[in-house]
Symmetry: C2
Amino acid sequence: MTNSLDTMGVDRDRLWSTIEELGRVGAYEDENAGTTGVRRLALTDEDMAGRRLVLGWFEAAGLSVRHDRMGNVYARRAGLDDGLAPVRVGSHLDTVNTGGRFDGALGVLGGLEIVRCLDDAGIQTQRPVEVVVFTDEEGVRFETVTLGSAVASGRIPLERARKLADPQGVTVGSELDRHGLSDGDPVPGPEPYAYLECHIEQGPVLAREDVQVGVVTGIFAITWKEIVFTGVSAHAGTTPYELRHNAGLAAALVTVALHEMVSSGRYGDMRATAGRVEQYPNATNVVPGSALMTVDMRCSDAAHMAAAQEALDAAVRRAAEEAKVEASVRITAQSPPVEFDPEVCTALAKSASNLGISSREMVSGAAHDAGEMAALGPAGMVFVPGLQDGISHNPQEYSTPEACADGITVMLRAVCELAGVPALQ
Amino acid sequence: MTNSLDTMGVDRDRLWSTIEELGRVGAYEDENAGTTGVRRLALTDEDMAGRRLVLGWFEAAGLSVRHDRMGNVYARRAGLDDGLAPVRVGSHLDTVNTGGRFDGALGVLGGLEIVRCLDDAGIQTQRPVEVVVFTDEEGVRFETVTLGSAVASGRIPLERARKLADPQGVTVGSELDRHGLSDGDPVPGPEPYAYLECHIEQGPVLAREDVQVGVVTGIFAITWKEIVFTGVSAHAGTTPYELRHNAGLAAALVTVALHEMVSSGRYGDMRATAGRVEQYPNATNVVPGSALMTVDMRCSDAAHMAAAQEALDAAVRRAAEEAKVEASVRITAQSPPVEFDPEVCTALAKSASNLGISSREMVSGAAHDAGEMAALGPAGMVFVPGLQDGISHNPQEYSTPEACADGITVMLRAVCELAGVPALQ
């Protein structure tokens, strides 16, 4: 067994061909991006077509496939001691409206490739290995990210998830019914022994530093706030400056204050963004009477997040006073920071090191299914570099065959260690 | 004659009834404003219906009505020495999309009321008096404000004006043809002796200070700039702060810099407004990749305007550097400050003083036909207070019958002085 484990490696071309083939399901020509994009919104027919393709591959690989009542799929390779809790590897198959081929798909297809590699090498693991497909990670259609994994972890009750509706009023529950996915295993199910996920970075760090894989030690806390300033629309020419109630000015003051907060370094690795600004009436010669802005704050430390939120609220009050407007602030999303299991992180880093693959620790600024899974048991992630500063949620999203194979190879060795291969023990 | 001049006064109810009757032409129910608005876009059928009503009143008052090739109307009351250059009183009858009953209409109907008062009092003036209706002051339909008076003054050539098209491609020229207005007097025509215009203030100053009329000594210089920042759209979670090219931040930095410039007092009576801001893609979790903003700057002094423009350009460069984005700046409108004739201003202030009507000097932040007329000869304006901080370009625009009568009474005395009444000389 030791021999086969040493020579065992990911079949780069086989992995790549599954990524390419799945990328043709839900493909569309994106004129803005000038290339083919992928659109498989959660629980649509396109999403199901993608699943059917991948489930066919699971079955061809001899995996036993089942799903839970949220439609999350578990494709199982039996362990030598099949009563043990499984090691799970997975991600999601749904995409955003203008998606690429890697986000989610790489984690699921990488899981398939790992199982195929184990088969090729004739390796039996002590624990079962399950490849997982989580339903609706993107949250585009039903406005709740990592929905399937949140239901699987017990954070969101199934009944609440089923009631979520898309803009056309179609609910998650009715879509699960339509696709025959409502009758599976109960949620939350039994805890896995460990959960691993490989994902494209969606950021520029690995590519800029020329590092082959990222060992993800956690996920940033996220807070979304929506701030509405209410002033008085007024003629830009005839309204003396001191009589203005300029809502647009208040929004700009907060955007600048936010920038100064982050630049000060007082809030650790905080990233803050005023992504959306809408002034009304938004005319050249009218003092803005109202302005809506959003703030997206992310950092790895809960205390920094709490302090930054206080500072933001103070900045909003100062801006409202300066611009003589009213302000209202609403939290629209909030999640605490996630710390992945140190032993899983060590296993992944050791795997990379043994393989001669360069790696660095990093914290994910984006949410992932692994963040939900961390509530159920030990979890960890591997990032692979993207191109063009990691452009993602875009048809131009790209990673190379080599980079994908590196990431899955690192995962493969860690799966063997976590699931237990008799020769290793 | 002295007796009749002393007892001569504006018939408040007669003036008010013309304002109310004209306000029914082009009236519509405005759901947002909760009241009836007026919509007579320039050279539309509604605008022409408003003109027909007013021209009927001109003719009933014995005025001889003619128009020039831009459709500007001149309704003449002969002078004792009818070869002398006329004293003109007027404004416009077109409105914005969601207009009120006073903007423009008061100046024209006030001119009519002045003529009626002269008739009632049996006064003959030395010079002819002409009531003027300028075509398309608002500039909403053909995107050029004070178009008719600019053609009358020679600033904009008739042929260029005729080629301007509305969003449907309909040109000024074709509309002038359709309404039979292309065959009038040549433009620019002979210079008047003086031009007077009464207008609703469209700002809060008179109402807040409880002053009955404003003697307008000039019109602010106006500069409009459109600034486009180009950065890189990027994931708000995964993109490290130092690698961002945040176009939205640049726009906010300029808005705040503009506020600091104006608040510093270094630019005199400068008013500056960032009225329009559009970020792309304008999503909560995306660093804005581009941002368009407009700046509206107005002040009474050309040197202050020049200095402020330089300071703004420097602020744009600093903001682009700080946010690591590219910037482009385009001037979309520019007009120099207008100074009204000191003798006309004195005549108006003296008229108010003699009548016991409180007045203050002020500079108009908005453009008016009188600003174009100032290029042709002595011009001046009277403002009357609006309600609700002078809300205008809105169905809620309102002034009281008393306030309107006060303004026109002040004009009436000044018209007598300028046009010459034998008993006064």
